[in-house]
Symmetry: C2
Subunit: 136 residues, 2 copies
Amino acid sequence: MSLGAFDEPTAFEARSGPHVAAAFYPTAMRASGTSRLRVARVHFSPGARTAWHQHPFGQILHVLQGRGRVQQRGHPVEDFQAGDTIVTLPGEWHCHGAAPGTFMTHLAIQEADDDCKDVYWGEHVTDEEYHDTHDR
Amino acid sequence: MSLGAFDEPTAFEARSGPHVAAAFYPTAMRASGTSRLRVARVHFSPGARTAWHQHPFGQILHVLQGRGRVQQRGHPVEDFQAGDTIVTLPGEWHCHGAAPGTFMTHLAIQEADDDCKDVYWGEHVTDEEYHDTHDR
């Protein structure tokens, strides 16, 4: 068993493009050999979002702080806020991130497949897609 | 995809003994057929705790509110607080709950086995065990 505050991320990823995220991955769970669970706390700066992506077994997001947006590809953008939970199904292409003007933090919870991949990435989300129904 | 606030639990369990918990289970994830992920937001009243239990693939707890205690069976009680993350390994018997005098809320994140069980329960935790190193 291990216990700790993960306010200092043990892994930091700054991806190119609009997605800037600091994430922790509890490596003890990944090292157990039988668990396929992956949990990350992801921090978004205002307006930052993921690229389009999907998860082999789906995903649960739990929003810890701020306001954000999520979009299933081909569907309207939806708003969320701290306390909300978003469930996406296996293989469902989507993106999520912070609303303009606010930082946003969520837990991202998903499972890895037999190739040890818990996410499959696509193209970046354009400003037109992300701000489609909100900012015009 | 689904999005919502889970402040009103969709499932409520009040177990006998010291463990009183209101939990939500995102049923869409359970219904996907391939995901074995289980996520619950569990609320503890002051001093309330789980019975001894273990998870087939381990567990990640993320503490949302309050102060609590966790114990790996046979080891000393450890304190935690909002923002902490606790990782338990597959098959590791443990308990967790709120400290006396404070409510505590955590996300509980684990995976179900081929029997659709994500937790195996044992006996209740006695006051002597839970307060062992703190309150004397």
